[in-house]
């Protein structure tokens, strides 16, 4: 308890929060920081090449410096806040995700509506043994991000099994 309120981010020995959610593995921070660093380097390089002549003017350089600092702060703080706030849980009939940096979203997908499940491993995530689970419904796609690869495979298999079982019951 913290100031009379339940700490919804504290995990027990099973890795579950008080309301049964799972939190991300801290290695997701490395993946997020690395991808953002690469993104910043590419953005700055492209921007520099395009506006190399404009940068001579003092006011342009000042504005760019301000934008760069804001971007840098966001990239430094964003992943940490994302990691601290990201929680997910899957039970027999639904998948829930709570996530966000500034805007916090509680997302609920009924398993009954799931059409397709896939596991995606990008090059940066692969370095840290992480993967995303893509969940496709007729109303769009939702993903569980930065899961450890075996956890992602486990969730995808469990979801697929549920869908197959549901479809078999309907035949």
């Amino acid at each position: 308890m913290k100031d009379g309120k339940v700490n919804r981010f504290k995990v027990d020995e099973n890795g579950l929060t008080v309301d049964g959610y799972r939190v991300l593995n801290p290695s997701c921070l490395k993946s997020m920081y690395l991808s953002r660093a690469i993104g910043i380097v590419i953005t700055v390089a492209v921007f520099y090449l395009i506006y190399i002549e404009t940068l001579d003017t003092e006011w342009a350089a000042k504005w760019l410096a301000v934008i760069f600092v804001i971007l840098l702060v966001y990239c430094a703080v964003g992943p940490f806040v994302f990691y601290k706030r990201y929680r997910y849980r899957m039970d027999e009939d639904k998948i829930e995700v709570r996530r966000g940096i500034l805007y916090i979203t509680h997302l609920l997908v009924p398993v009954e509506r799931v059409h397709q499940v896939d596991v995606r491993v990008g090059p940066i995530n692969r370095i840290f043994g992480l993967a995303d689970v893509g969940i496709t419904t007729a109303g769009g796609e939702v993903s569980l991000q930065f899961l450890e690869e075996d956890v992602a495979e486990g969730i995808a298999t469990a979801l697929n099994d549920k869908i197959v079982r549901m479809l078999k019951e309907r035949v």
């Binding site: 966000g100 979203t105 419904t137 007729a138």
Partner: protein
Amino acid sequence: MQPDESSRTFRNHPSVIVGYMLSTVLVVAVIAWGMLRDTDASGKLTDIALIVGAIMVVVFLWSYFYWKRTFYIFTDTELHVTRTAIAKSDKHIQYTRLASVNVTRTLLNRVFGTSTLTFNVNSSMNATAAEATLVLKKDMADRLRSQLNSLIFEKSNTVQDDVLVQTLVKVSNEDVIMHAILGQPTYQALFGLLMLFYAVVMLFYDNSGGLITAVILLVFSEVVPFIQAILKYYNYRIFRVGDTVTVESGLITTTRSSFKINKVNSVRIREPLLARIIGKAMLEAEVVGMASDENNVPLLCPLKRKDEVRRLLGELAPELVFESEPEHQPRRALIPMLITDVVFAAAVIAVFLGLLFTAEYYLDGMSETWALVIRATEAFFAVMIPVLIFGHSGLAQRHRTFDMGKDSFMFVYGGYDTATEYINYDKVQYVDVTSGPLQRAFGVASCSVHMMSSVGYKEITSGLFPPEDLEKVSEEVMARIRDGRYDYRRYY
């Protein structure tokens, strides 16, 4: 395999080859014109003619090959499209998967006395592209549609019977013209007015480049949608026989769309600002296959008096509407909205102040009259845009409501243009409840429901309400799945 109407095996009418050829001619003509314009044409005319001729021959042979080897077989349970061209292709479309069947008669159809039947599957993938398209002689298409009525829609009416069915709402062609004028979103009308003003200014300023740009934008934002709406909704009829709703309209291209009421994901009463002022509204529905592209709306009734639209909704889809005692957006929700508005308004005013202080550069060399006109325009927008921003929040606060019924729930959203949307719980694919930092401080959030739509998939977002109230939507969706109120067989 040979076409055989008695065993419901069909092949496209040969006019489809003409259609392919005409499209190719158009593309090739544009490319050839470009080549002749950019190069020294005198020595290359023969080469270009040979290339064009070769392309046309290849397209003709290809189209003929495809036409000859593509068959449509209507069995008791499915449509089977089979093609044995370079690769063999077999497509089986269960009738239960169909969301809508459309019958269209374009100008080319009229010339050849044919009709085009399009079959749309209830899926968000490629929602604007039909799963199968079949062109037949009109009388043959009418006979097939009569057979399909009983096969797909379990409806015994023939095409001739449908003609005699009374439309559920009388839409005169004057109503259609009124719809074309007042039915567009307010932002589009404002943009049109802005372009008209810009065109007039450019005309007086003798700037032909600016004038042409303004006129083109005006034509595409106002004139083209106006003409499109009239052509599309002329001679409008809508009726329901059993569980099947049929909508037909069109001046040059006539379209008749049929869908079962259980394929409707949501219905929406839409009221653009000007229409609302004179007490009119329109009715739209989200059904896969009812809109041909992202700019189209699946219309069930053009602008009519609001009470008439409500009556029509009650008769067309009583399953979705309910007596509502809605929850209004709480007053505290206005505070985060106004804080956001202040930020935006401050940014707009800063831009115009910037223009004011740098005026000496860009007004240099202009006459005093023109400098005055430009400064007056800037001052007008510096005041008007913040007023519009705050006005939107004020109106949104007044209109936004939320209510939950037995089988559907309702979101009323929008500021200048409003929409009342009834959404079937069983059609909700997933839900998210989101709150920003300001909204959290005042204990409100918004809810987005994601579902299939006429153009793929879309999300509908509520106003700002206590998050625990909005969470009840997903709780109800889950409760219906758990206790069996959701029965997938009902939507076959």
